[in-house]
C-alpha cells in the first residue's frame, strides 16, 4: 500500500501546461457558429413534414384533384362504351405525366423560382425540405394514380397487378425524366423543357401502348422487369437530385 502511495505521489509530479486560452476561445466561437447553423437546428422529420404540408398551396391540390377527376371520368366513359383497353391507357399516358409534372414542379419550386438561397439559409436545410416535399407529393401522386388505375382495372376486368404495372412504369419514367431535366437545365428554361419532356413521354408511351402484343398475359414478366428497372432508375435520380440540392447549398456557403 505504501509503495502504491509513493507511485501515486510520483505520478502526480506530471503536471500539464496551462490551458491554451486562444484555442479555447476558438473552440467556443466555432461551437457557437455551428449552433447558429441550419445543421445544428435539426427539426424532427415530423415537424418538417408538417411544415411543408402547410406550405403546399391550395392551387396544387386543386389541380391534382381536377386532373385525376378528368382521368377517372375518361376511363369510366371508355369502360362504359367498351372501347379497347389501349384508349383509356392512352388517356392515362397523357394524364400521368401531367400529374407528375405538377408534382415535380411543386417539389422543385425552390429551384424554379430561384428561392433556394433563401431556403438554404433558413434554419432547415434545403435538401431536407426538398426530401420532405418529395415524400409528401410522391405519396399523394402515388395514391391518386393508383386510384385511377384501380378504376381502370375495375371497368376492364383486367388483373389489378397488370394495370398497376402499365401505369406505374410511365409514372416512374416521368419522375426520372423531369428530375433529370431540372438537374441539367438553366433556371430560366426549366419550365419550357419540362413541358417538352412531358409531350415526349406522352407521345412515346402512347405509341408503345398501341402495340397489342404488350398486353398479352405472357408479357407480364417483361412489364415487371421494366417496372423494376424504372424503379432503380428513379431511385438513382432521386438520390442524385438530393445530392445536387445539397451541393448547391454548400457552394452558396463557400462563396460567401
Amino acid at each position: 500500500m505504501k509503495k502504491n502511495n509513493e507511485i501515486q505521489e510520483w505520478l502526480q509530479l506530471y503536471d500539464t501546461p496551462a490551458i491554451p486560452k486562444g484555442k479555447m476561445n476558438e473552440l467556443i466561437s466555432a461551437g457557437q457558429r455551428y449552433m447558429d447553423s441550419a445543421e445544428f437546428n435539426k427539426n424532427s422529420l415530423q415537424t418538417i413534414l408538417l411544415s411543408q404540408l402547410q406550405y403546399l398551396p391550395l392551387f396544387f391540390w386543386i389541380v391534382q384533384v381536377i386532373l385525376v377527376a378528368i382521368a377517372v371520368v375518361l376511363v369510366s366513359l371508355s369502360g362504359y362504351w367498351k372501347v379497347p383497353l389501349h384508349y383509356p391507357l392512352t388517356v392515362l399516358m397523357v394524364m400521368i405525366p401531367l400529374i407528375v409534372l405538377v408534382g415535380v414542379r411543386e417539389v422543385s419550386k425552390s429551384n424554379l423560382y430561384d428561392m433556394w438561397e433563401i431556403e438554404q439559409s433558413s434554419r432547415c436545410q434545403l435538401v431536407k425540405i426538398t426530401a420532405c416535399r418529395m415524400l409528401i407529393v410522391g405519396l399523394v401522386d402515388l395514391f391518386l394514380v393508383t386510384g385511377t388505375l384501380t378504376v381502370t382495372s375495375f371497368y376492364y376486368q383486367q388483373s389489378f397487378i397488370e394495370v398497376i404495372l402499365y401505369g406505374m412504369v410511365p409514372f416512374n419514367i416521368s419522375c426520372t425524366c423531369y428530375l433529370f431535366t431540372i438537374m441539367r437545365n438553366e433556371k430560366g428554361q426549366i419550365s419550357y423543357h419540362l413541358f417538352v419532356c412531358m409531350i415526349c413521354i406522352t407521345v412515346i408511351f402512347s405509341i408503345i401502348l398501341k402495340q397489342e402484343v404488350l398486353f398479352e398475359t405472357s408479357m407480364i414478366w417483361g412489364w415487371s422487369i421494366f417496372y423494376f428497372f424504372s424503379l432503380v432508375l428513379l431511385a438513382k435520380t432521386v438520390w442524385d437530385y438530393l445530392e445536387h440540392e445539397k451541393k448547391i447549398g454548400e457552394l452558396a456557403w463557400n462563396l460567401q
Binding site: 509513493e6 507511485i7 502526480q12 500539464t16 491554451p20 479555447m24 461551437g31 457557437q32 449552433m35
Partner: protein, 176 residues
C-alpha cells in the same frame, strides 16, 4: 445546461466549455504523451462531437465522464489513423517558475521520468492509469469510459502500476 444547449443557447455552450475544457485538455495531453497542439485539436474535436450529437445525449451519471468517454474514443481513433507520434519526451511547456532553479530542475527531471514511464505503457493501461490517478475516477467509472468490464479495468490498472513501479525502481536505483 445540456437542455439549454439543445435549445440553441450559445451562452450555455460557452459556460460548458469553460468548465470542462481543462479536464479534457489535461486528459488528452497526457494520453498523447505531451503533444500540446494535438491535445488542443482533439479537445476541440471532443466538444464539437458533443455538439453534433447533443440532441441524442441522454444524461446518465456525471457529465465529466461522458466527455471523458468521447475524449478516450477520439484519442484512440487518432492513434488508429495517425502515424506514430514522436513526441520529444524530454521537453516541457510548463511555465511554473516558482521555487529555486535547483528545485525547478529536479521537478523537471521528475516530470520527464513520469512521462517516460507512462509512455512505456500500452495505450489501454495508460488510459486507465490517467483516469485513476489524474482524474480520480472509480474503477466502475473507468470501466464504463474505456468500454470494458470492472475486472478488466482492475487488471489493467494493476499491470500498469507494476510496470510503473519497475520503472521507478530503475530510476531511483532500486530503493522503492
Amino acid at each position: 445546461m445540456i437542455k439549454k444547449i439543445q435549445a440553441g443557447d450559445t451562452e450555455a455552450f460557452d459556460a460548458l466549455v469553460r468548465k470542462y475544457y481543462g479536464i479534457i485538455y489535461q486528459f488528452c495531453y497526457r494520453r498523447l504523451n505531451g503533444d500540446t497542439d494535438t491535445a488542443a485539436d482533439i479537445t476541440q474535436d471532443v466538444f464539437l462531437k458533443l455538439l453534433e450529437n447533443i440532441h441524442a445525449v441522454r444524461m446518465v451519471g456525471k457529465f465529466q465522464n461522458y466527455l471523458l468517454t468521447i475524449a478516450a474514443n477520439t484519442c484512440n481513433n487518432y492513434f488508429k489513423k495517425a502515424k506514430p507520434i514522436y513526441t520529444d519526451l524530454t521537453t516541457f511547456d510548463i511555465t511554473d517558475d516558482t521555487g529555486s532553479a535547483l528545485e525547478r530542475a529536479i521537478q523537471n527531471e521528475n516530470m520527464i521520468e513520469v512521462r517516460k514511464a507512462l509512455h512505456t505503457l500500452p495505450d489501454y493501461q495508460k488510459e486507465v492509469i490517467i483516469l485513476r490517478f489524474y482524474h480520480e475516477l472509480k474503477i466502475r467509472e473507468i470501466a464504463k469510459i474505456t468500454e470494458s468490464n470492472i475486472p478488466t479495468a482492475k487488471s489493467r490498472l494493476r499491470q500498469g502500476l507494476q510496470k510503473i513501479k519497475r520503472y521507478l525502481e530503475d530510476f531511483k536505483g532500486g530503493d522503492i
